[in-house]
Symmetry: C2
Subunit: 323 residues, 2 copies
Amino acid sequence: MKQLDETMLDLSPELAIVERAILHKFQSRSVLLNAASSYLVQAGGKRIRASLVLLAARLGPHYQDQEVIHSATAIEMIHSASLVHDDMIDEADVRRGRSTVHNQWGNNVALMVGDYLFALAAGQMAEVEDRRIFRSFARAVQRICEAELSPVTDVEPTDQAIKQYYNKIGGKTASLFESAAEAGMIAGGGSLEQVEALRLFGYDVGLAYQVVDDVLDFTGDEQTLGKPAGHDMQEGTITLPVIYAVAEGADDVVRQAVQADRPGAELIAAAVAEVRRVCSTKRAQREAERLVDQAIERLEPFPDGPAKDALIDLAMTVVQRKM
Amino acid sequence: MKQLDETMLDLSPELAIVERAILHKFQSRSVLLNAASSYLVQAGGKRIRASLVLLAARLGPHYQDQEVIHSATAIEMIHSASLVHDDMIDEADVRRGRSTVHNQWGNNVALMVGDYLFALAAGQMAEVEDRRIFRSFARAVQRICEAELSPVTDVEPTDQAIKQYYNKIGGKTASLFESAAEAGMIAGGGSLEQVEALRLFGYDVGLAYQVVDDVLDFTGDEQTLGKPAGHDMQEGTITLPVIYAVAEGADDVVRQAVQADRPGAELIAAAVAEVRRVCSTKRAQREAERLVDQAIERLEPFPDGPAKDALIDLAMTVVQRKM
C-alpha cells in the first residue's frame, strides 16, 4: 500500500506547522489537562483531515496561507475533541492500541479535555477571515452530535438499516471530511461551484473512509487494528458488512450476535467468521470504492496538476488502507 | 428584594430575541437532542449573562444591534452547555429544583447536548464581526474547563485554600461574567480602556455571584434553593464559608464533614449548623459585597445614565439575591 506521504504533494511543512500549533495551544494551567493533552498529542494520528484542508486549498486559485493553516489546525482539534467524547460514549478502553483518555484519566478529565479542545478550535476559528469556514465547522460538530445519538436500530429491514447506517456515518465521519474539503477550497479562493464540488468530494471520501473502517473491523487482525475483530458487533454497533451479511442470508448467528445484550467472545467469533464466509465485507468494500470513484468524478472540472493528483491519491488511499 | 427586571433598563425586547434565537437554533434532527433541549430551554434561567452583555453594550458609545444579540445568545448557549457538563462532573441529580439532563436522559445525551450547544454558540459567533468577542468567549470556555479540574484540596492552610477557591470560581463562574461584560462593551463600540473596565467589572461581579451562591448553600432553605442545605459539602466541594469557619476556630465537625468520603446527612447537618453558628457565611457575604463595590468603582469613569444605573443594580442584585 502506498503511504499518504509518498503519493501527495509534500505537505510536511504545513503539517508540521499544524502539529506545532496543536502542541503549543494546548498549554493549560491545569496539570491534569496538560498531562492528558500531551498524551493525546503524542498519540497523533494520520492528520488526514488536515491534509484534506491543505490539498483542497492547493487546488483552489488563491491559496491563503493563514486561512489554510488555521482551518487545518481547527479541524484536527475538533476531530480530537470528538474522538475523546466518542470514546466515552462507546466506553472504549483502547484506541489505536493505546488506552483512551477516559480510561487513563477518568470521565471527568475526558469530558473537560474534549470541551477544552472545542474551545481551542474556536480560538483558531477566530483567526479565520471567511465565515463560511466557521459556519461549516460548527455545523459539522452539530451533525457529529446528532449522529452519536442516532443508532442503527436493527439489521432489518435492509433498506431502513442501510439508510440509518449512512445517516449515522454521514454525521459521525463524513461531515468532518466534508467540512475539511469545503473549508480548504474556500481558503483556496475557489468559486461557489468549486467549493460545492469539494464539499461533495469530502463527504463521499468520508463515507468511504468509515465503510472501510467498518470492513476492517471484520477483516483486520488485532495487532494492526489495536482492537479485536468484531469489536463493533461486541459494542452493539450495526455496520454495513453486518447488514449485507444478513441480507445475503447469513446464518442466524450474525443476527444473534447483533441482538444479544452482552454477546460473549465465542458468539462474536462465530458471527465474524460467518460475515467473512458470506463475503459481505467484499460487497461493502466495493461500495466504498464506488463512493471514492464518485468523489473523484467531482474533481473532473479542475485542471490536472499535483494538487488534483494528490487529492485523488488521498481518496484512493482511503479505500486501500489496511489499518 | 428587587427583581432584576424592575431595576434595569427594559431589556425584555432584546432578551425575548435571545430566547427565541436559543429556541429556534436548537432544532435538531435528533429526536433525543430535541427532547433534551426543549426540557433545557423550558428550565430557562435568569439570563443574567445575556443581560450583562446587553447592558454593557448600552453603556458603550456605539450600540451595534446584531453584534450584541449574537453575543448575548452565544453566551447563554455556552453557559447552558457548561452547566450540563458541570452537572455530569458533580453527579448532580437536581438543578433549580428540576432533574438534570444527565439524570433525566443519561450521560451520553447530556454529553452530546453540551457539545451541540457549544457548536450552536460557535455558529452564533460566526455572525459576530469583532474577533475580540470570539477570542474572549473561547478563552472563557478554556478557563471553565481548567477550573472544573482544579479543586480546592483542603480547608487549610487558609491562605492556600482561599487562593485555590478564588482560582476555581474565577474560572468556573467569573470568566463567563467577565467575557459577557467585555463582549458587551466591545459590541457597544467602547475604547480599549472602556472594554478593560467592563471586563474587570464583569469578573468581580462573577466572583461575587459565586460567593453568594456558596453562602446560600448554607443559609438558604431547600425549597428556595431546589437542593438541600450543605449540598456542596456533601459533594466534597470546599467553599469560602467553610474555609472561613475553620479559620475562625469552628468545631471539628466542619473539618470532619469536609474530609469525610461520603458524609452522612447527620454529619452534614451538624457541620451546616456549626458554619451558621460561627457566622462565617456573614464574612463571606461581606466579601461578596466588597467585590461588588470594587466592581461598581470600575464604572466611575462612565457618564451617569440608565445603562450605568442598571449595571450597578445588576451588581447589587447579585449580592442581595436569596436564590
